[in-house]
């Protein structure tokens, strides 16, 4: 998604590039305002500026908007989305939450909790504990998969053998046979 946006930036007309270069000049001021609290007044940023400052693509911002994670403050007369500088803080929040493994729907839940008056830190902690358990379960499954591959790789080392003699494939075939339920005939023979 981000690479597509970079290509788009490359195709931008000179006038737009100039606007973006100007936006870089105001970055320190805006960043300072964002860090110190909500901005007063009507300062707004275009999607391109917000994307650059948050180091995400414009497509990402549009996707987040579609997913209800971010909304533009207003639209310009020409129909361009304009964002309040607070949107940057929200984008950083989303990025950090993604790094912690939260899905976009979970991030939406976290953002909703932030706005709920009756919510407390315990609600956030509950989500964090559940996410940690999910991640640990995934790690456990991945370790089992990795161990299975190690066992398969230890079976044989002769790489020149034809496919029908490949010990890894044979081992996988054997495991398939083990998982197959026995036919009625086989069950009767056992008795």
């Amino acid at each position: 998604m981000e690479s597509a946006s970079n290509k788009r930036v490359g195709r931008q007309p000179v006038a737009n590039k100039l606007v973006q270069e100007k936006s870089l000049i105001i970055v320190p001021a805006i960043t300072h305002v964002v860090q110190s609290g909500p901005v007063q007044g009507s300062a707004t940023l275009t999607v391109g500026k917000v994307a650059k400052m948050a180091q995400v693509s414009t497509d990402t911002i549009r996707y987040y908007e579609k997913e209800g994670l971010i909304t533009p403050a207003k639209k310009s007369h020409s129909g361009y989305r304009l964002y309040h500088p607070d949107a940057l803080r929200r984008l950083h929040f989303i990025k950090h939450a993604k790094h912690a493994g939260f899905s976009l729907s979970e991030i939406r839940e976290l953002l909703m909790l932030k706005n709920r008056k009756d919510a407390c830190c315990n609600d956030v902690q509950r989500l964090a504990v559940e996410k940690k358990l999910q991640l640990e379960q995934k790690i456990k499954s991945l370790k089992i998969m990795s161990q299975t591959l190690t066992e398969l790789l230890n079976i044989g080392t002769d790489k020149t053998k034809p496919l029908d003699q490949c010990p890894i494939l044979a081992a996988l075939e054997r495991s398939l046979n083990l998982e197959k339920p026995a036919s009625r005939e086989e069950q009767e023979n056992e008795h």
Binding site: E130, E136, Q137
Partner: protein, 89 residues
């Protein structure tokens, strides 16, 4: 042999604290020689929680198996423990 009941919860869970006391009293009705009660903070014993297959606390494991994915009513827990003790005899 006694039954091992473990309640798995995360710190700061308000509703768990209330429910835990009620459920603990059910376990105590059977006596410590028959039912052993243990409270587990999932953050302290995350490996064990994962081994049990816990998805979201609070939950109850009995004899090392996750039996209640959410906290049961005191009636359900009493019934489960009575059934297991009956099977042991």
């Amino acid at each position: 042999m006694s039954i091992r009941v473990e309640i798995l919860s995360a710190p700061g869970c308000g509703k768990c604290a209330l429910a835990k006391d009620k459920l603990k009293s059910v376990a105590e009705e059977f006596g410590p020689d028959k039912v052993a009660w243990r409270e587990i903070n999932v953050l302290d014993e995350i490996d064990y929680a994962v081994e049990l297959g816990l998805i979201a606390p609070p939950a109850i494991a009995i004899n090392g198996k996750l039996v209640f994915q959410t906290l049961p009513s005191i009636h359900k827990l009493r019934e489960e423990l009575a059934k297991r003790l009956c099977n042991e005899i």
